[in-house]
Amino acid sequence: MSSGRSPREHLSEEKLARAALTYLAEPGDPALGALLAICSPAEVLAAIKADMLPGTGPGCGDTPASRAALDRALGRWRARLPTLPHQERLAGTSRDGIRLSCPGDADWPGALDQLGQARPYALWLRGHTDLRFACSRSVSMVGSRAATSYGGHVAGEIAADLGERGWTVVSGGAYGIDAAAHRGALAAEAVTIAVLACGVDYPYPAGHADLFAAIAGQGLVISEWPPGRHPARTRFLVRNRVIAALGCGTVIVEAGERSGALNTARHAATLGKPLMAVPGPVTSAQSAGCHRIIRDWGASCVTRAADIIELLSPLTVPDALAPSGLDALAPGGGPGRRSRPDPDAGGTPSRDDLDPDSARVLDALPTRGGAGTSTIAVEAGVDLDTVLRCLGRLAGYGFIERCDRGWRLRRS
């Protein structure tokens, strides 16, 4: 397994070439994708350095138009040649805890090959977890950066539940849902993967530097861009295809009408991966995108981790095929070891343990939706002081929670 490789070991010629290509070409460049389909990376690199395209072959430069496109691409790549680090530096990046994974490596996730010519040339990894194994049972979870507390809560809960059952959560490391998903998985001491649109050593957003460090410690921070590369607007959209490809399925937790999460959803749909969405309040602009993909794209409506696992289970790699040594790969999070006997109990007292007032207030809450404080008080036939005290107690016990319209029963 490559994760055990000594840092001093030199990268093979092909890996070096792929590392160099990540510096020279933007990921997702169709011209380079087409070239790599017919030539080896070392040949491509040599051709770029020599400013001479490799001999024409099928699918490459056989028409004048595509020949011209290739010439233009060559100019693009050559322009970055001066910025290419020295070979030693390329090879020695592993000193910083950063390593390279290339197609054909033991830890290269086969799921990425589904991207065809848009497959990443190579991936830069930060963290010690095995990428291929982590992606064997994985869920991509993305959503709005401007998440509501509802979205953040749901994303965190679902990610933690998935983590406890041995699933990897893949997300983009952005604010909002992405961060909630990562944190949920981290809280369950499970593996989580952050796919960045910049170098893995470049914390973007800067406020997440600590989060990325925690993810690298317990899972992986990965990127198609070489270390030190800054993020750019278009790079996020290119990056999204990798998020979609790495997960066995994609869950959108909260997405506005124009959210970037919908771009990830589109990639997942294109790849034929199960697409899922967590519904939100129909009045919430933050969930409008989720509702649209349920309606228009046939996404499955999921509300908890069990729903997701049920949908994905036939698609995952059987456990027998997965490498052994679970505990080493998923620190403290071997599936089955930490799974709760009853995930719904959570140490909450039962309704029978409640005092009469609290029980009455709990009964007064509507079964669906929420109700205002006064409405609950009238319904329960108690005064305001009592209702406030009982609501506090019930919320503390986890029976109810705050919502748009006041208080509502907590889904258990």
Binding site: S144, R145, A146, T148, S149, Y150, Y175, G176, G256, E257, V282, T283, S284, A285, A288, G346, G347, A371, G372, T373, S374, T375, A377, V378, E379, D383, L384, D385, L388, R389, C390, L391, G392, R393, A395, G396, Y397, G398, E401, R402, C403, D404, R405, G406
Partner: protein, 533 residues
């Protein structure tokens, strides 16, 4: 010996310092020299005083006049030594009896025609004079009511320099009337309305108009029972309050009604508040003593100096000090400049503002209840998906992020107001209470808290630091079970527990219980969880 002494008071902030004014007339070319750290306005006094003396029909001594203000190290500012200097010169020239002039404190600005004009800050100055044993003060007629608030001081109200000189000479005025009107401080207060004045007024410039038939009442805030309860808790415990909600939910309405449930100020507090407003010059002419807690709502374009006080030359109190013992309401709080908001951290901590300038350091009291109101987003349209908010995620994050964590950390009660549904409106009719009812509970709760906190520097629960709360006033045993469970579940943080317990103390005070029980802690938790997070 042509030397005379008079006395006045220089104000640094709201603290008075007695200033001795010596006027010496010597042989030499006719000139006036003012020594002793005067500022520009005080230097100009030479010309004002000369015109005033001449126009009052007195004789200007055509010799060299030296006016010394001591202690010389104390910066002296403004125009209010005019009267003291003018009387000093007249006394030195032998026009008024020197002994009489030395026995009175003088405060007042002179017009060129010799009229005496009112000045700001008379109350703290007279209070200082009384402390230092001066039994008589002479002020302009317009300042008489304010000066007469100080017990044990004889206030001589005069309208002009002539009146002042005549009174000192023991002569009647030109038209046979007494030269001055005298009041005994603390007893007969001229032009003072009865105590049944408006309830909700604030003294400041930003206060609501005079209380008419439609005085605001807490009962009008229908459908927001949690918010009403939060306001009551804040009024009773002096807790700072943060209101979050879309426009139209009633944030401003609630904040404006908090003064209606606050008790009137006691004598000592009223003096402190009046002193600050007197220095700021925002004291209403007819109301010399502010007995209602002030309510200040500065606009969000306010500068740091406007909020915490400052200014070059004369340092004036800002809104934070004008709201002393009252409410400082920051509507659209995220719109305030970040440094303005952060400047409030120190007064929130210390209960006073310290304005340091190169010349002098000034302290103003600033123990106020902070009320913040914010929209969840700068465009304030989050209602539906169709006309929904178009702000970028970063914009929204940044918007609420403008209120810094350390500031929010000092806020004990946070409430989210939602648009009210019809059902909630109907249900809430049963529970809405008038301001008068709530104010009575608040007053009793404050008394209980004050009784408990006797012998400590604090008067209200909101002022008690967490460490003292834990050590000296823990809630009843066994009342924290639900809190502990919430802590385990990650609903609240350890820091949140301190705030919840503090609010529980206020709830216990409101309910008349000796210490918070489990019910109070749970109710406080309910209020705390009233914000989605």
């Amino acid at each position: 010996m042509p030397l005379a002494r008079t006395y006045s008071v220089a104000l640094i902030g709201v603290t008075g310092h007695v200033v001795e004014i010596e006027a010496d007339i010597a042989n030499g070319l006719p000139a006036v020299i003012v020594v002793g750290l005067p500022d520009t306005a005080l230097r100009e006094a030479r010309d004002r005083i000369r015109a005033a003396i001449t126009n009052s029909g007195e004789e200007w001594p055509q010799r060299k006049i030296t006016v010394g203000l001591s202690p010389a190290s104390l910066p002296k500012r403004g125009s209010w030594f005019d009267l003291a200097i003018a009387i000093g010169i007249l006394a030195a020239a032998g026009k008024v009896p020197r002994a009489a002039a030395a026995g009175v404190m003088f405060f007042g600005e002179l017009g060129l025609d010799g009229r005496l004009r009112p000045v700001c800050g008379v109350l703290p100055a007279v209070a200082r004079a009384a402390e230092k044993g001066f039994g008589k003060v002479m002020v302009a007629e317009q300042n008489a009511a304010e000066a007469a608030l100080v017990p044990g001081v004889r206030v001589i109200a005069v309208g002009s320099l002539t009146g002042a000189a005549d009174w000192l000479r023991g002569l009647p005025g030109p038209d046979g009337q007494p030269a001055a009107v005298e009041y005994q401080g603390g007893q007969d207060l001229p032009g003072r309305p009865g105590r049944d004045g408006k309830l909700a007024s604030g003294g400041g410039a930003q206060a609501a108009g005079p209380g008419g038939a439609m005085a605001p009442d807490l009962a009008e805030l229908l459908g927001q029972s949690m918010a009403r309860r939060a306001a009551e808790v804040c009024a009773a415990g002096g807790h700072h309050l943060s209101l979050l909600g879309p426009p139209g939910a009633g944030k401003t309405m609630l904040a404006e009604r908090i003064p209606t449930i606050l008790p009137r100020l006691d004598r000592a507090a009223a003096f402190e508040v009046t002193a600050v407003h007197s220095v700021a010059g925002t004291l209403p002419a007819q109301v010399p003593l502010l007995e209602d807690p002030p309510f200040l709502a500065p606009h969000h374009t306010a500068t740091k100096a406007a909020i915490v006080g400052g200014g070059s030359g004369v340092i004036r109190p800002g809104s934070a000090s004008l709201a002393h013992r009252g409410v400082l309401f920051l509507d659209e709080a995220p719109e305030f400049a970040r440094d303005v908001l952060d400047a409030l951290r120190q007064p929130l901590e210390a209960g006073e503002v310290v304005v340091a300038r190169s010349g002098i350091t000034t302290r103003f009291p600033a123990r106020f209840t902070l009320v913040l109101a914010s929209n969840p987003c700068p465009c304030a349209r989050v209602a539906g998906p169709s006309e929904g908010c178009s702000c970028s995620p970063a914009t929204r994050r940044r918007y609420l992020g403008r209120i810094s964590g350390p500031l929010l950390d000092r806020v004990d009660v946070k409430i989210e107001l939602e648009p009210v549904s019809r059902k909630e409106l109907l249900s809430d009719r049963t529970f809405s209470e008038s301001s008068l009812t709530v104010a009575r509970r608040v007053a009793q709760a404050r008394q209980r808290a004050a009784h408990r906190l006797q012998g400590t520097p604090w008067r209200l629960n909101g002022e008690v630091p967490g460490s003292a709360l834990r050590r000296t006033w823990p809630p009843a045993p066994g009342s924290l079970t639900v809190l502990e469970r919430s802590l385990d579940r990650g609903l609240i943080t350890a820091r949140g527990v301190v705030k919840i317990v503090r609010v529980a103390w206020t709830l216990a005070d409101l309910a008349g219980r000796p210490r918070p029980t489990r019910d109070d802690c749970d109710a406080a938790l309910g209020l705390w969880l009233g914000v989605r997070r």
